[in-house]
């Protein structure tokens, strides 16, 4: 969700900074008023911020995408400390993340604050309040807040990117395409964030109801029918009719948002794409005397049929892969592991899970395919194509044509084989995943918490640049970031070279660790080059023929534009790295104080900085303790663990915030201006 440094053009960076500044200012005002009434709120907000920061470093597995991601956290923060304060927290977290990880950026800070901070907090908070008012339990209200907040964050990001990367008249279409691209990974993640938020709240209600009432999350409902018990299953079984209604409403709500988003995205993407496709590209090509070839697979003659074949192959492959992997390890059971907890049972999956596995495989296969196809459908030149129903395809006279067309058989065969192989790999992987053993790879993301401490250590190290006054560095970097956005690629390339040189020679960061830190930015840059290459009209360099898509071209102008933008992004990120790795955060915050940034913001930042390390350590300890008592927990069990960890982290931060407030008071903290 973090938009990387340099992606947004200067005018959009500035435009998003305005609402972000307003949001942060309003948050500061609100917090100042609340602090006057209840002074302990300040430390509470900062420590919750540190806890939410730590929570957002907890990797949550996304089974469909086959990867891990982390919750946005702002819906939960908004529920706990209020949406206005949550905007503040998001602002400070995003600043720290930009400097620690080069994750996000300073010129894109405004856009990121608007999406994660303002939209995430308020959408989540509203969803929570409304569903509470409608009589939902804490869990379901939290679920609604988490999932809707998460989705709305990504929708906003898509809109921001659409406006920034596409010409204005095409922005809606671009945003739709991006949202469609986000959906396959974001939809399950939104559900997981919903479960996480709801789970944390209901665990909190069970473990420490006093905190909930202390936070003003009123237990009006709980007073009527006791504190909510932890766990969805319990609620479903014992919740009665009202709960079922609420569950239905929540599910329908999420579904409606998903479908509406999808339909909207599809609707805006199937309009005419001015500037590319047959309308322009092919015409230009014809003018150049290079007419486009007849496509191998033509949508008009039924390439959806191919899609169906492909999907079938994937599903079959997945089932076969699953079974083969299962047979290889000697039986249907999972590999020997710790004795299953709770309901006795044989080691490994329950029968229900095993029976559900093929269904999951099929659904997952479909979603993965969708993930691959959807952006293609959205971004590719879709001249007059539309999705047809299976019946139409089968009835289509050109069905035969597809098979008899030039190379049609070969294409069909290749597509099916590809589908089968992909399915096999997926089934194999899913057996490992769901049948109790974790695949051996660890994603670099898992080490994000490690990055916090190494980055910080690096920043405290004395180097030629550490000695320079932070105020000067902030000013220079701010000017350079601005210039980077407006001055064109030559300056950006020069900046990139200078920053990389300074990073490795003066700050003495190893090349490898520079590359690792820039990995997300490199990925974004590659994406930008491809995106621009495909969408900017111009002289076609190559015409690409892929199964399922009509031929599309990469234009020279597009590639150049993409490369320009990539250089800008990389230069911006390297500038941030240079600043972050040569200046300890407290020095940076003090410098910001000199620039008249409100003292409350600085104080919150300092407190958060102090406690982030403590909470990251605590998260790691809790995680280790959990793993030691149940290694290789499958994701759905792990989810329960995450919920209780999240709740514990919030409890600890709440209690600590009370003690920190006492400690501040005892040393005259209330006399401070």
């Amino acid at each position: 969700m973090h938009i990387a440094e340099g992606i947004l053009p200067a005018q959009w960076a500035a435009a998003w900074a305005v609402p972000a500044a307003v949001g942060v200012t309003v948050g500061l005002r609100r917090l100042r008023v609340r602090t006057a009434e209840e002074p302990s709120v300040k430390s509470l907000v900062a420590l919750m911020g540190a806890a939410v920061f730590a929570i957002s470093l907890m990797p949550i597995p996304v089974p469909v995408a086959g990867s891990v991601s982390h919750p946005a956290g702002t819906p939960l923060a908004a529920i706990v400390v209020g949406p206005a304060a949550s905007v503040l927290l998001a602002g400070i977290s995003l600043l720290i993340q930009a400097l620690f990880f080069a994750h996000g950026g300073l010129t894109t800070l405004g856009a990121n604050i608007v999406s994660e901070g303002i939209v995430g907090s308020f959408a989540g908070y509203l969803a929570f309040r409304l569903s509470r008012r409608a009589g939902a339990s804490l869990f379901w209200a939290g679920f609604a807040a988490g999932s809707l907040g998460d989705l709305s964050v990504y929708m906003t990001t898509a809109i921001e990117l659409g406006l920034g990367l596409f010409p204005l008249h095409d922005a809606a279409r671009g945003a739709g395409a991006l949202f469609l691209g986000f959906l396959p990974t974001q939809a399950p993640l939104a559900v997981l964030e919903g479960i996480f938020t709801g789970g944390v709240l209901s665990s909190l209600a069970e473990l420490r109801p006093d905190i909930l009432s202390g936070l003003g999350l009123g237990q009006s409902r709980a007073r009527r029918d006791e504190v909510p018990r932890v766990g969805v299953r319990h609620r479903l079984r014992h919740g009665g009719r009202r709960l079922r209604v609420v569950t239905l409403v929540a599910a329908v709500l999420v579904g409606v948002i998903l479908v509406a988003g999808f339909v909207w995205a599809l609707a805006v993407t199937t309009g005419s794409w001015v500037g590319i496709d047959a309308g322009v590209m092919e015409r230009v090509a014809e003018e150049q005397g290079r007419a486009a070839w007849t496509p191998f697979i033509n949508t008009d003659v039924g390439d959806l049929l191919l899609f169906v074949f492909f999907l079938g192959a994937v599903v079959a492959g997945a089932v076969i892969g699953w079974l083969v992997r299962g047979l290889r390890s000697g039986g249907a059971g999972a590999p020997a592991r710790l004795p299953a907890r709770g309901r006795g049972g044989s080691p490994g999956r329950s029968r229900a899970t095993r029976a559900a596995a093929p269904v999951v495989a099929i659904v997952a296969g479909g979603l993965v395919l969708w993930a691959w196809v959807a952006p293609g459908l959205a971004l590719g030149p879709v001249s007059g194509r539309s999705l047809r129903t299976l019946g139409e395809i089968l009835a289509h006279p050109s069905r035969q044509q597809v098979l008899s067309a030039r190379g049609g058989d070969l294409v069909l065969f290749v597509a099916m084989m590809a589908g089968l192989l992909g399915g096999l790999a997926m089934g194999w992987w899913m057996w490992l995943r769901f049948a109790g053993r974790r695949p051996r790879f660890r994603l670099p993301h898992l080490h994000a918490s490690h990055d916090v401490s190494t980055g910080d250590r690096q920043a405290w190290r004395a180097t030629g640049l550490t000695a320079v006054d932070a105020r000067l560095k902030v000013a220079v970097v701010a000017v350079m970031l601005g210039a980077n956005l407006v001055a064109g690629w030559v300056l950006s390339a020069a900046l990139l070279a200078v920053c990389l040189g300074a990073l490795t020679l003066v700050v003495r960061v190893r090349w490898v660790s520079v590359v690792v830190r820039m990995a997300p930015a490199l990925l974004v840059s590659a994406m930008l080059v491809v995106l621009r290459g495909l969408t900017v009209p111009g002289r076609p360099l190559v015409s690409i023929h892929l199964p399922l898509l009509a031929p599309f071209g990469v234009s020279q102008e597009g590639l150049t534009a993409g490369a320009d933008l990539a250089v800008v992004v990389l230069a911006g990120v390297s500038l941030l790295l240079l600043l972050g790795l040569s200046t300890p955060l407290p020095a940076l915050l003090s410098a910001l104080r000199w620039y008249r940034v409100p003292i409350l913001l600085i104080e919150l930042g300092m407190l958060m900085y102090r406690y982030i390390f403590l909470f990251v350590e605590e998260t790691q300890r809790m995680r280790q303790a959990q793993r030691l008592r149940g290694p290789d927990v499958p994701w759905h069990r792990a989810m329960g663990g995450f919920n209780s960890m999240g709740a514990n982290l919030l409890i600890r931060s709440y209690d600590r915030s009370q003690r920190v407030y006492d400690a501040q008071r005892l040393r005259g903290g209330e006399r401070r201006p």
Partner: protein, 301 residues
Amino acid sequence: MMHGPWGSKKIDGAAVRLEGAAFVYPGGVRALDGLDICVRPGDFTAVMGANGGGKSTMLKLLVGLLHPSEGRVLIDDIQVGHDTFNEVAVMVGYLFQDPNDQLFCPTVAADIAYGPENLGLREAEVERRVEWSAKTCGVYELLDRPIHALSYGQKKRVALAGVLAMGPRVLVLDEPTASLDPMAEAALMRLLKGLNEQGLTIIMATHDVDLIPLYAHRIVLLRGGVVAAEGPLNDVFAEGTHLESCDLRLPRITYLFDIFCDETTRPLTVGQARKELVRMVERGQLDLVPILLPRERGGAA
């Protein structure tokens, strides 16, 4: 020799009095009941008792973090209360059990300076106090370090430096030696003893019975929120039953003497035990054979 932030070697310790103080937690748990305790200026008092005996609650009453449900708490002649919180905070320094609660600034120097800055002191004076208390607590070399890079023992000393920089007349410590290694523990206690000798009143909660006789003058024993015993160290420790009733025990060296001497001689520290042994050997009173080899003695009889 340590010099206080006021430029003299003497610290003007304050007296602490609890008069019928009781405290009831919101849940209805009566943590303290009718405490009458008097600590004279310059005393080194240990508040002892089992976990949950009311030690921490009592210490919090002394600084005004909690307010007594009944009775009152006086520091010199100032009654601890909402109106006098800031006044009392300057007089009484409070060291939290977990230094992570107390250290909320990003760097060591910033944290030690936090208190003096809030007192509205001039910059030079703030610097002088930071330097003095950092040197006193042995953290002068750490001043520019970020807090999260310190070890637990270092954090503890920095937290103490932050409290001392306020220039307190009474120091209240909640289990200051918990989770410290033996050397750090000894160093901390020596530091406290040095401050106490300059006149600082010290009240510390602990259940380390082997450590306390080395340093404390007076003991307050709490059991279930009431005073089980109070008085000079030797009086309270003379009766092992007092300690045992509070889920504590006699120092190990005292046990050893109980085994082979009559109960009239009760050394509480290794130093006292050594003196006692020398005395007994000189008088020819010490006959270890029947104690160490009781079976042979039984056989001979």
